[in-house]
């Protein structure tokens, strides 16, 4: 089937595919820097001004950063991913009685 052949074609050139993906990420970062720098003067400042009045503290600060610093959401996405994996794994190995949250498959049929 053609689809399988296409996937195999890509898998045979894995290092090239990886390089292309890194290229896409780099392009995305550059595009976002351009976007924020271009719109920085008016739009972003107005938007944050409005929200900063209504809320203070951590989240308001984060919002301000999100609106003004380019590539914020790239960093957010990456950190989110790492946080989710580590927190979940930590949770999975918590002790509950004699077992961990991640228990043996026959836990319920002893």
């Amino acid at each position: 089937m053609n689809l399988v052949r296409f996937i195999d074609f890509l898998r045979d050139r894995l290092s090239l595919v990886i390089k292309a993906c890194i290229g896409v990420l780099a392009l995305l970062v550059i595009a976002d820097i351009a976007r924020v720098v271009l719109s920085h003067g008016h739009e972003a400042a107005e938007a944050t001004g409005e929200h900063a009045e209504a809320a203070h503290g951590f989240w308001a600060h984060l919002y301000h950063v999100a609106e003004t610093i380019p590539v914020f959401w790239s960093v957010f996405g990456f950190i989110a991913c790492v946080l989710i994996v580590f927190i979940s794994k930590w949770y999975g190995h918590l002790k509950v009685g004699r077992t961990e949250i991640m228990a043996k498959e026959d836990f319920y049929n002893e």
Binding site: L25, L28, L62, W73, G77, A80, C81, V82, I87, A103
Partner: protein, 601 residues
């Protein structure tokens, strides 16, 4: 006028009953025809909104057909999903499976169009009972126990709902299913909300969902993932829009599902945890949906849009993983891998579902989820927006990456016979998945299709602007980067993750001990007082208690419970242990406690 109105649920129920007498040659035609007629009927109802099917029973006014824009948007997508789901299981020979699925759909659609709480409750219970069969029909040893757990949890939720309805009726004198006063919630409002929240699988009332959806038949889960939780979302949106407690609950839900999805090894249980996560967005949206505010109106539309999109992409994902299960008999990542070579079409279609749920631009999640997130930011509750964004990264991590990767790529863990059996499915399953996949892309690419169906037409929302697209792409692509960097850590382990269902799975014996010892002690003590005291007022009370005991408890609760037990005994064939007996006792006791609570109130 009202006598011309035909309820779409009726089509499903009558169609299901007639399925047993339809000749074999006509069977597949009939299976397609019935949901199509029902869907046509729902479409036609859009032309004539209003209230239909009003019936007077024992002094109560029951409204079977409240047709407005809110019930229509849910009715439309559920009617459509019934066609897709039936098509997917078209080759299933056992009529009872189709009848159960259609009765379940009928319950769901009946609840959507219910104009009063009694009608809502009736269809609510139909839904719970009919869907239990979709688990039992799996036919494994553990299916029976899982089905009972599912049924009992939903019966408990039903009791809470009914209690809330009774209290609300006593307080207001009205049974109309309209928005409750969420600014000053009464005990009735709380109980009704708890009943809804249980069906929406809000923690800590959620553990039934992965338990059931992981165990149901390959096509049963396709129905179940679409109807129960989304009917509950509809009920919340209709009954308690703007109930603020739902905002934190929804956000917790969205993150809770993500954490368990990291740990999960069974693909369908992973998807089930992601149902919890996605419904979390909707529950938070209902909490935001205060119709007096612009962000609340956006959230109101957002909940409808997200439920609409969710039914299609989650159905598609369950169809994809259901296909792998149907073909190979395996659903665990540690028993699968590398299947793209054998099931390329299934891979592509599952991937489309994964990209849709992850809210990639041009896919359906992008145009629906963002409405709720935007409403969160607009409400100035910025933490809602950010934490929902965090959950979005988790969604892509699991459903967009983990599911396709560890089934279709990754290390090939397939046993020789699994590998041998793996191939793309029969035509009807492929067509059903393709329709859902097409709609996922269509909704994401052509927004008027979905947006024109939303209830509040004055709300303007435009998902495609540079900022939003860039934001989304950055989060998703950098999450993907994290995924591939941490691939080793993410490799599934052959384990199960304990969830709160441990309370009733391991707590059964503990509960029985509790029921036996202290209650027996109290019983003896009370008996002593009766014997020793012999006071007249006390005697009168005890006589009343006796009447109450024999008439209400023995009659209703025991009758109900033993009915189910007998039914189960006939169904199960060979059944180990006394789990049903234990559960029935536990259920009866819980029902008595609840009833006692209401009477004292």
């Amino acid at each position: 006028m009202s006598n011309l109105w035909i309820h779409p649920s009726l089509i499903f129920i009558v169609g299901g009953l007639l399925l047993t007498v339809v000749p074999q040659a006509m069977r597949k035609v009939w299976l397609i025809l019935v949901p199509t007629i029902a869907f046509g009927l729902i479409l036609k109802m859009s032309l004539n909104l209003g209230t239909f099917g009003v019936v007077h029973v024992a002094g109560f006014e029951l409204t079977f057909g409240r047709v407005d824009r809110l019930s229509q948007v849910f009715g439309y997508i559920m009617g459509l999903m019934a066609i897709i789901g039936t098509l997917y299981g078209l080759h299933v020979r056992r009529s009872a499976e189709h009848i159960a699925a259609w009765t379940y759909v009928a319950g769901s659609i009946g609840a959507l169009y219910a104009g009063d709480f009694i009608t809502l409750f009736l269809f609510w219970e139909v839904m719970a009972i009919a869907s239990t069969f979709l688990i039992w029909f799996r036919g494994r040893d553990q299916s029976v126990a899982t089905g009972y757990r599912y049924l009992l949890v939903h019966m408990a939720g039903g009791v809470a709902l009914l209690a809330g309805i009774m209290l609300t009726y006593r307080a207001t004198g009205s049974l109309a299913f309209n928005p409750l006063d969420v600014a000053n919630p009464t005990a009735g409002t709380w109980l009704i909300t708890i009943g809804f929240l249980l069906n929406a699988a809000v923690p800590p009332l959620h553990a039934w969902l992965p338990d059931a959806y992981g165990e149901a038949t390959f096509n049963g889960s396709v129905f179940m993932c679409a109807f129960t939780t989304k009917t509950a979302v509809y009920a919340l949106l209709r009954g308690v829009p703007g109930f603020q407690i739902l905002i934190p609950l929804g956000v917790i839900m969205a993150l809770y599902g993500v954490v368990y999805a990291v740990l999960e090894n069974d693909s369908r249980r992973l998807l089930a945890y992601h149902v919890i996560s996605q419904v979390g967005y909707m529950v938070a949206g209902v909490g935001l949906a205060n119709l007096d505010t612009p962000f609340g109106r956006l959230a109101f539309n957002g909940v409808c849009a997200h439920a609409f999109a969710h039914i299609l992409y989650k159905g598609l994902l369950f169809m994809g993983c259901g296909t792998v299960l149907h073909q190979t008999g395996e659903s665990k990542f540690t028993e699968l891998g590398g299947l793209y070579k054998k099931m390329p079409l299934t891979f592509i279609l599952t991937l489309i579902g994964g990209l849709s749920i992850s809210a990639f631009p041009l896919f359906s999640g992008f145009v629906s989820k963002s409405m709720i997130v935007q409403a969160g930011f607009d409400s100035h509750m910025l933490w809602v927006g950010f934490l929902l964004m965090l959950a979005s990264a988790g969604t892509f991590l699991h459903t967009g990456l983990k599911v396709p990767y560890f089934i279709f790529f990754g290390k090939n863990n397939c046993k020789p016979q699994t590998w041998e059996k793996a191939k793309d499915p029969v035509w009807n399953m492929t067509v059903a998945m393709s329709i859902a996949a097409f709609l996922c892309i269509f909704i994401g690419s052509y927004t008027p299709y979905l947006y024109s169906k939303l209830p509040l037409q004055d709300v303007v929302y435009q998902p495609y602007n540079t900022g939003h697209v860039m934001e989304t792409l950055q989060i998703l692509l950098f999450t993907a980067l994290g995924f591939f960097l941490m691939l080793k850590k993410l490799t599934p382990e052959a384990k199960i993750s304990l969830d709160l269902d441990i309370i009733w799975r391991k707590g059964g014996p503990a509960f029985l001990w509790l029921a036996k010892k202290p209650i027996q002690a109290v019983d003896n003590f009370v008996g002593e007082i009766y014997n020793a005291g012999g006071l007249i007022p006390l005697m009168r009370t005890s006589r009343l208690v006796g009447i109450f005991d024999s008439a209400v408890i023995d009659g209703i609760v025991d009758g109900f419970a033993s009915g189910f037990r007998n039914f189960g005994a006939r169904l199960r064939g060979a059944q180990r242990g006394a789990i049903q007996d234990n559960l029935t006792v536990a259920f009866a006791a819980a029902a008595v406690l609840l009833l006692a609570f209401i009477f004292i109130f």
